[in-house]
Amino acid sequence: MTTCTPSGVLATKVGDGCAENPYLCYQCKRCTAGCPVAEHAGMHPAQIMRAVQLGQYDMIFDDKFIWLCTGCQTCTTRCPQGIDIATIMDELKIIAWREGKVHPDAPSAAMLKLNYDSFVRWGRMWEVELIARDALRRPKGALEWLSLGPKMLLKGKINPTLKRGDTDAMKRMVKTAESLTRAREQQRRAEPRSGGAAAAPKGDAAPPADKGGGAS
């Protein structure tokens, strides 16, 4: 089942959140051609961009693509329209967290949260903790490390101990950033837009500077 939101609502959210204009995409698919994970998901980056333009929530959030995106920035680098597509993928993840639309079968999504919690807790990200907590939650994750983990430990490749950062400073920054982010979100909701079209935060008329090889 696919539900549509009124066209423009999702694009507006994306545009407000990351100052990118999804409507600049004209489906050349250079993003998809260079994407290292496109072949491993149901959707590919150009399809995600179209779905954002059309407000197709479920098409995006029922697929695992955004959680497989490695943030390699190839799409952003090659987009002839100068759209920061990798940032739009991040914004879609942020919307998914905020609106309870995180894919239930995407271990990478859970891993991002474990990672976030780890650096918030210790001031630094503790790699061994991520693997251990993921293994407790997901036995398949533990199986993957049975062979490689001990080899890395024996070689001294992994240092299992942690040196904390300035945890007080970290907690203070996280608290301020989270509350300020919520406040900005409420401000946006309190200022409804007319017409339902996404705000065009940049480049709605002028074409972006050529990044080389885009237009010839």
Binding site: G17, T70, Q73, D90, Y116, L148, I158, D166, T181
Partner: protein
């Protein structure tokens, strides 16, 4: 001796101690004083920019403010490519958008005036030290060891942020290894993604990406792969052992940090630069 701030990042204290050790040792030998940022925090890595955009910008800017206001230095070495990307992105965001800069100032508690140059591992050897000064320090040159320089994603992309001259086919790392007596091979996967943190959750995808990268390096004649990112190293090295476990015909290619190659060439001993820490044995190519 030039002083430069140093931000090691979490991976250099976790899975890549030999990256930290070899970087520090080479800097010392190349007359570069590294001043570690006191009480540094995680840069927020992939998780922060997928969860809270403001925090993702504020965390690296907080470190840059420490370098600028507390250490009063004008450059910071960030050898981890992922941290480097977050530092460059943070600085870029506050410089281009005053509203973002205001919110970041609220989170950090003070402003950052943009006075710090962020250098990745390649920049340190190529620009801060310089190719001539580096070549002059070489005591044990490699005798033409064929090296594939793997830049991965974030040293060069996106170019608006990194200001990389040639984001699709960079050559600065190639110039550094040539200064050490290596032969840099031309190959196709210099800037392709290794799968990054998917190695924790989607190993099959990472294995297919790593196999493609290593197969091309080998086919182009490389005897070793040089990297400048802890995650690239652990993926290319570690996943090769997993690929080899399933494919007995797999011929491993050793994966070394650029700092280890520099260290070997300027005469540091194997133990200092951690040559034996890798799963694909690198001792033969470093002998």
């Amino acid at each position: 001796m030039t002083s430069i701030a140093y931000y090691p990042g979490c991976s250099l204290h976790g899975t890549s101690g030999e990256f930290d050790a070899s970087f520090r040792a080479t800097a010392r030998a190349l007359d570069l004083e590294l001043v570690e940022i006191p009480g540094w925090e995680c840069c927020g890595n992939t998780a922060a920019h997928s969860i809270n955009r403001l925090l993702a910008t504020a965390l690296p800017v907080n470190e840059l403010a420490k370098v600028e206001k507390d250490l009063k230095l004008d450059a910071v070495a960030v050898p981890c490519a992922a941290c480097f990307s977050r530092f460059k992105t943070g600085a870029h965001e506050v410089a281009r958008d005053p509203a973002v800069a205001d919110d970041v100032r609220s989170v950090v508690g003070r402003g950052y005036d943009g006075g710090v140059t962020v250098q990745n591992l390649v920049d340190v050897y190529h620009d801060a030290v310089g190719l001539e000064a580096l070549a002059a320090k070489v005591k044990r040159p490699f005798r033409g060891l064929k090296v594939a320089c793997y830049y991965g994603c974030l040293l060069t992309r996106p170019p608006e942020v990194t200001l990389a001259e040639d984001p699709e086919y960079p050559t600065h790392m190639d110039a550094v290894v040539e200064a050490l007596g290596c032969t840099a091979v031309d190959w196709n996967y210099k800037t392709d993604c290794c799968g990054a943190s998917l190695a924790l959750t989607e190993q099959d995808i990472v294995d297919s990406l790593v196999a493609r990268i290593v197969n091309d390096a080998r086919a182009c004649g490389a005897e070793a792969i040089a990297v400048a990112c802890p995650l690239c190293q652990v993926n290319l090295d570690g996943r090769q052992t997993e690929i080899a476990r399933k494919d007995s015909a797999w011929v491993g290619v050793p994966v070394l940090f650029l700092s280890q190659l520099v260290g070997r060439a300027i005469g540091l001993d194997d133990k200092t630069i951690g040559v034996s820490k890798h799963l694909i044995d690198a001792r033969a190519v470093m002998a």
